[in-house]
């Protein structure tokens, strides 16, 4: 009797973990926690870094780009994308969501337009919805807010376009096909992919190079993000679109909460790590002690050399520890028209695609062929735009984007302090939450068909 109850409970556990759609709020909080963890591990995550790297490989392969792009398996951006796709694929297999879904032909045309718009948009905004908005606000960068604004405008206009399309375009709008597999096979493939992922992480961890070894955590945390987003069907474009389409604000509220949790986590890391982290410890003890020694006065040459090496290593350690959490990083020079225009083009593209940067990738993982076509066009257009922008110094020069033509480089705590920044983000997210909640009942913001 108790054995069969246990069996049922294990079945239920599998169902909750792998089959049922996760609650949006829970998914949003897990996404925020994983985003904080990946930042603590090494760097914030993004979708466009991977997609651009893959686009650069296509352009290099057909002879348009001369320089070899970053290695697929050793470029941290690309590894984030691979981990994310793997996580989404595993989730889709275990949950029986995976199948090759071929849309009607018109959807493929939209996929190409979508990819191009998203590539251009994310070049202007300094990232896609993740790096340019979600993680940008999370990194306390002002440019996240300008992209947020652009996204709202682009998505509302995109929705109007889709209404128009439904009335006026009849060519190629039916005849989609689906190629499914037995569920048992999907479960086996899902488990094998999970094993491959863990093997990959161990393989990275065993490498002598520090950079390569760190990719282990990047791969696994990204896979967690992909898994969570697919299982929760957690889609940022839906968060922006749904309040204007059906009035449903579940995802908008979830994204608002997720951004808030992320921003608090990032503020803690950015404020506290330089205060209490090893960099400061090294600086205040080892380096200051070594600075008191006059190397010229030491008779023993070997000892003098060793001490000099220790001094250099100490300084390198400080630099390394400060690098990722340095406010200069992951703030872009797009707080201005660049962020708004980029968000607008990206939002419009995401409406054509039916998925944002992250939403596109997890849908690729569940076999949606339309999104498979979005990715290469997104990657190619972003790679070309990024190369061009670099050549003309569109986003200015140096880590603080001096002379950016797209907008300001502003780390919010520099203007408002950490307290003021968190207060601003709390107020902005609360306002978003209240407005979409009010709209759910009043339907004032719904774009009628």
């Amino acid at each position: 009797m108790s054995e069969s109850i246990m069996k049922d409970k294990i079945k239920d556990f599998f169902k909750v973990l792998c089959q049922t759609e996760w609650n949006a709020t829970v998914a949003g909080i897990i996404v925020a926690l994983l985003s904080i963890l990946i930042m603590a591990w090494w760097r914030p995550w993004g979708a466009v870094g991977a997609i651009r790297n893959w686009g650069e490989w296509i352009l290099y392969g057909i002879g348009i780009f001369d320089h070899k792009p970053g290695e697929l398996l050793f470029n941290s951006g690309s590894v984030i994308g691979i981990g994310f796709l793997a996580g989404a694929f595993i989730s889709a297999c275990l949950g029986n969501d995976f199948s090759f879904k071929f849309p009607p032909p018109w959807e493929f045309v939209k996929a190409i337009i979508a990819g191009i718009l998203m590539g251009i948009g994310s070049a202007f905004a300094g990232g896609c919805n993740v790096g340019g908005m979600y993680n940008a606000i999370g990194n306390l960068a002002a440019n996240g807010f300008t992209m947020w604004l652009g996204l709202v405008i682009g998505i509302v206009l995109g929705l109007k376009y889709i209404y128009w399309e439904m009335e006026h375009i009849t060519w190629g709008t039916t005849g989609g096909k689906n190629f499914d597999f037995p569920y048992g096979l999907k479960i086996i493939i899902g488990i094998l992919s999970g094993i491959a992922l863990i093997w990959g992480a161990y393989h990275y961890a065993g490498m002598s190079d520090d950079y390569a070894a760190s990719l282990s955590g990047i791969l696994l945390i990204s896979a967690g993000l992909g898994y969570t987003m697919q299982r929760g069907r957690w889609c940022m474009v839906q968060a922006f679109r749904e309040p204007h389409m059906t009035g449903d604000c579940t995802l908008a509220k979830s994204v608002a909460l997720s951004i808030l949790v992320l921003a608090i986590g990032c503020a803690v890391l950015k404020y506290a790590v330089p205060q209490r982290g090893s960099a400061v410890a090294v600086k205040s003890t080892v380096i200051s002690a070594l600075e008191d020694i006059d190397l010229d006065e030491i008779q023993d040459e070997d000892l003098a050399d060793t001490l000099e090496d220790i001094q250099d290593a100490g300084q390198a350690a400080v630099k390394g520890a400060e690098r990722v959490l340095d406010p200069v990083n992951y703030v872009r020079g797009t707080f201005g028209w660049g962020g708004v225009l980029g968000g607008f083009l990206f939002g419009l593209g995401a409406m054509f695609a039916g998925g944002c940067g992250s939403g596109t990738l997890w849908r690729v993982g569940e076999g949606q062929m339309k999104l498979w076509l979005v990715v290469p066009f997104f990657g190619i257009s972003n790679a070309i735009m990024t190369k061009w922008f670099k050549a003309i110094h569109m986003e200015g020069t140096g880590p603080t984007h001096v002379g950016s033509k797209l907008g300001m480089h502003l780390y919010l705590p520099d203007a408002l302090g950490y307290g003021g920044t968190i207060l601003l983000i709390v107020l902005a997210m609360a306002a978003w939450y209240i407005i979409v909640d009010w709209n759910e009942d009043s339907n004032k913001l719904i774009v009628e068909m």
Binding site: T20, E21, G95, D97, S99, K101, F102, P103, P104, E107, I162, Y163, M166, T174, G175, G176, K177, N178, F179, D180, R233, C235, Q238, R241, M245, T246, G247, D248, G354, G355, R363, E366, Q368, M369, K370, L371, M449
Partner: protein
């Protein structure tokens, strides 16, 4: 989302919408448009492959006041049934 609601067998359908292969938000928008073409009390059948529809269609029905009758699995796609209010 709670457990999947199974539709009863042998429903009399007034209209069928083929949304196979379409991804979010197209299946729901097409459904919204098609429901305008049937009379109150009649049933619309939607053929879809997007796993998101399992949540979107019942959610929209609850919001718009239509009755969601459930779904039936077919070979490689799902049939959703909506009774117009």
């Amino acid at each position: 989302m709670s457990d999947i609601k199974q539709a009863p067998e042998g429903l009399e359908v007034a209209r069928t919408l083929d949304a196979k292969g379409l991804s979010c938000p197209m299946p729901l928008l097409r459904t919204k448009k098609e429901i305008g073409k049937i009379n109150s009390g009649e049933i619309l059948e939607v053929l879809g492959t997007d796993p998101g529809s399992r949540n979107d269609i019942p959610g929209w029905c609850a919001r718009a006041g239509h009755e969601y009758l459930g779904e039936r699995e077919d070979e490689g796609f799902i049939r959703f049934y909506v009774k117009k209010k």
